[in-house]
């Protein structure tokens, strides 16, 4: 189990999240994919932290978690408002902000 294994796992998680973000239409799913990408990044941080024997990466993880928590709160609120106003959870229906 060296650094490379962790990074490959991190990459796989990130790609799953990114592809999911693009192909999924349900807001909740999109949201989950977003969390997946964040945690893929977290995994890389931790792996590097251990590999380099430095605490910096672990501290960054805390920052990311805080941001993720805040984002989850705001994002879920938006989801609820979207459902109330549009009666839908499909992101493609929320496309009024365009040319």
């Amino acid at each position: 189990m060296n650094l490379l294994h962790y990074l490959i796992l991190s990459m796989l998680l990130f790609v799953i999240g990114a592809v999911g973000f693009i192909v999924k239409k349900n807001v909740i799913s999109v949201f989950l994919c977003l969390e997946l990408m964040l945690n893929a990044a977290n995994l890389s941080f931790v792996a590097f932290s251990r590999h380099l024997n430095q605490a910096h990466g672990q501290i960054f993880v805390f920052f990311v978690m805080v941001v993720a928590a805040a984002e989850a709160a705001v994002g879920l609120a938006i989801t609820i408002v979207l459902f109330r106003n549009r009666n839908t959870l499909n992101v493609d229906d929320a496309d009024t902000m365009k040319w």
């Binding site: 973000f21 999109v30 365009k98």
Partner: protein
């Protein structure tokens, strides 16, 4: 002494500022007091300055006062400087004196007009500009005054701006004057290029004495060019052929304006300028010749038009054009002092004629058509007698002012060897006498040709109008005595002006005895009397004969009535083609086609591109995410491929 010279123009400027900015809230009495007070104080100071000048020895009468450096750019320096010498002294007295009298007259004439404060503000502003023009010590400052009077003329012609014809007349005056000004400006440029100075004294000294840059004998060509360019400016301002067309239309302005600006002062600025530049003109025979020919042609042509006009002010307007022609004839034959002499006497009697005409119009309740006047002698005696004096003066009847000055010009023309000019001048003098007395007889003689209602309204003007008339009447009688001709003793006026013409090249007059000169004076009086007699025969003793004559010479009469169709000619030859070219080529092709096309084309091209690119912003979050992903991938790829070494 005369450190107060700058006050003379500045006081009217202050009056203009006060009345112009706050006059709306003042009662009329206060406005008149400020305006006339400013003109009066200015006149008073001018008189003091003039008498101070007289105290000096003749060769010292050249007071140049610099106040500050106005423009300094490289080796170009223009001072704000005023010059008081006999020439500007005479003009100073004419402008402030006649100006003051006309200001007082305006109180009565304008009492019922709207915009009373506006009128007096403009009048004071005009005085300021005219005094700047007259007192200026260099060409550039003179040009400032020159443009200032043009502006005031424009504003005052268009005083009744709610009348379309007045607005048009104002624009016409402004535009025609601009054409002349181009010549003046180019002349100034050429003067600076040649002499590297614009100061009158400095330029004239260089001309007379020659410098390394400007050897006297080599200067003929450039002096001719300068003279002709300056004269183009003078034809615009002083209403000479070919730029005289604006002056008759300028009669749309209030009558005191016609008297002050378009008879006595502003239109004589061209004559003043030519005389001021006499050191240049006297060394450029060709330019001088042009001045003479233009002058005599204008004098004759305007006089013939004046013979048939029926609008009282237009008769006077053409008369002014004609008399200005006389002044240029004087300058053209080298008798510069005679030109200024006629300028002075003309200022008196022509201002009087205009003010008298204003008084008549006032009495008639706005009527200007001579054919609907008549018999006014009984109703407006003061106006009648003063106008009669002025008419006699302008006709050149001994011993009124016009006799001395006009005779001096005719005599100069003859004695300098221009008999044809003398003959034309004599004919013009006869015409002048005829149309002036035609005006007098039609307005004051015979029976009234107006309705009962108008007859009821007839009244002599108030004292504020008649007193100026009488004052000018006295000046019209006595004004000529300052310059008695040689056969009545030496001409003191000419001797007085001599220091101003120190650098002028004097041409030698032909030898002749006083008896010959007297004989010529007698001939011109006879011509004038003939004109008066003819007018009497045609309009008093046999009123039908005028119409008979008109119908017998129908074609000539129509041409004269149509003012030789010069306006129509300009319209067809210059205005229409310009308008057509502007509309069809410059507007529709250049502006609408080319310039608008280029601007709109750029816009349309960008709009087309944007139409494609805008599709990127489609509102779909998933699409944005894809772009972000692709973008990030591209950046990473770039870093991996190109920046791997670091």
């Amino acid at each position: 002494m005369s450190g107060y010279l700058w006050l003379i123009p500045l006081i009217p400027l202050a009056g203009a500022a006060v009345n112009g900015l706050a006059g709306k809230r003042f009662p009329k009495a206060v406005i008149s007091l400020i305006a006339c007070g400013a003109a009066g104080v200015s006149f008073f100071l001018a008189s003091i300055a003039f008498f101070d000048l007289l105290k000096l020895a003749p060769e010292q009468r050249h007071l140049l006062q610099g106040y500050f450096t106005w423009i300094a750019s490289g080796d170009f320096v223009a001072q704000a400087e005023f010059l008081l010498d006999p020439l500007s002294g005479v003009m100073l007295l004419i402008v402030t004196g006649v100006g003051f009298i006309i200001h007082v007259y305006s109180i009565g004439y304008m009492h019922a007009e709207d915009g009373y404060y506006r009128f007096f503000s403009y009048m004071n502003l005009f005085l300021f500009s005219m005094l700047t023009l007259v007192l200026a010590g260099n060409f550039l400052l003179m040009f400032v005054g020159w443009e200032g009077v043009g502006l005031c003329s424009y504003l005052l012609i268009g005083y009744y701006f709610d009348r379309r014809s007045a607005g048009d007349a104002g624009k016409k005056a402004f535009i025609v004057n601009r054409i002349g000004d181009i010549g003046f400006v180019l002349g100034i440029f050429l003067i600076f290029l040649t002499f590297h100075s614009l100061n009158f004294g400095e330029v004239f000294r260089q001309i007379a004495e020659g410098t390394q840059r400007f050897p006297v004998e080599a200067g003929l060509g450039v002096l001719t060019a300068i003279g002709l360019l300056l004269f183009v400016g003078a034809t615009g301002k002083s209403a000479q052929i070919p730029l005289y067309v604006w002056l008759p239309d300028a009669m749309e302005g209030p009558t005191p304006v016609s008297a002050l600006i378009h008879a006595a002062t502003m239109v004589t600025a061209g004559v003043y300028m030519v005389v001021r530049c006499s050191p240049i003109f006297s060394r450029a025979p060709l330019a001088l010749h042009v001045v003479m020919i233009v002058g005599i042609l204008t004098a004759l042509m305007a006089a013939t038009i004046g013979l048939v006009q029926t609008d009282i002010k237009r008769v006077l307007a053409y008369s002014t054009v004609s008399q200005l022609g006389y002044m240029f004839v004087a300058a053209g034959v080298g008798a510069f002092s005679a030109g200024i002499f006629h300028l002075m006497t003309h200022a008196f009697f022509k201002a009087l004629l205009f003010l008298g005409a204003g008084s008549v119009i006032h009495a008639m309740g706005g009527e200007q058509d001579l054919m609907r006047m008549g018999g006014l002698r009984k109703h407006t005696p003061v106006t009648f007698w003063t106008m009669l004096v002025a008419a006699l003066a302008i006709s050149g009847i001994f011993p009124l002012a016009g006799f001395f000055s006009k005779d001096e010009i005719l005599w100069s023309a003859w004695s300098q060897g221009h008999p044809l000019v003398w003959l034309f001048g004599l004919i013009t003098a006869g015409f002048t006498a005829f149309y002036m007395f035609r005006l007098i007889f039609l307005a004051f003689g015979g029976e009234g040709r107006y309705s009962e209602e108008v007859r009821h309204h007839l009244h002599e003007s108030p004292p504020s109008m008649t007193v100026p008339l009488v004052l000018l009447g006295v000046l019209s009688i006595t004004g000529g005595f300052v310059g008695l001709p040689a056969w009545l003793g030496a001409n003191r006026f000419f001797r007085f002006l001599e220091p101003s013409l120190a650098f002028t090249l004097n041409s030698e007059p032909a030898e002749s005895s006083h008896a010959v000169e007297f004989g010529f004076a007698a001939i011109s009086v006879v011509a004038a009397l003939a004109g008066i007699g003819l007018a009497y025969r045609m309009y008093i003793s046999n009123p039908k004969s005028a119409e008979e004559l008109a119908s017998r010479w129908k074609r000539i009469h129509r041409v004269l009535l149509g003012k030789y169709y010069v306006d129509e000619l300009y319209d067809a030859a210059i205005i229409k083609p310009t308008l057509n070219a502007s509309t069809n080529v410059l507007w529709k092709r250049m502006d609408a086609g080319f310039i608008d096309g280029a601007v709109n084309g750029v816009g349309q091209t960008i709009r087309n591109f944007a139409g494609i690119l805008k599709n990127v912003q489609n509102g779909l979050i998933r699409s944005y995410a894809t772009w972000i992903l692709l973008g990030t991938a591209a950046v990473l790829l770039y870093v991996y491929v190109f920046l791997r070494g670091y």
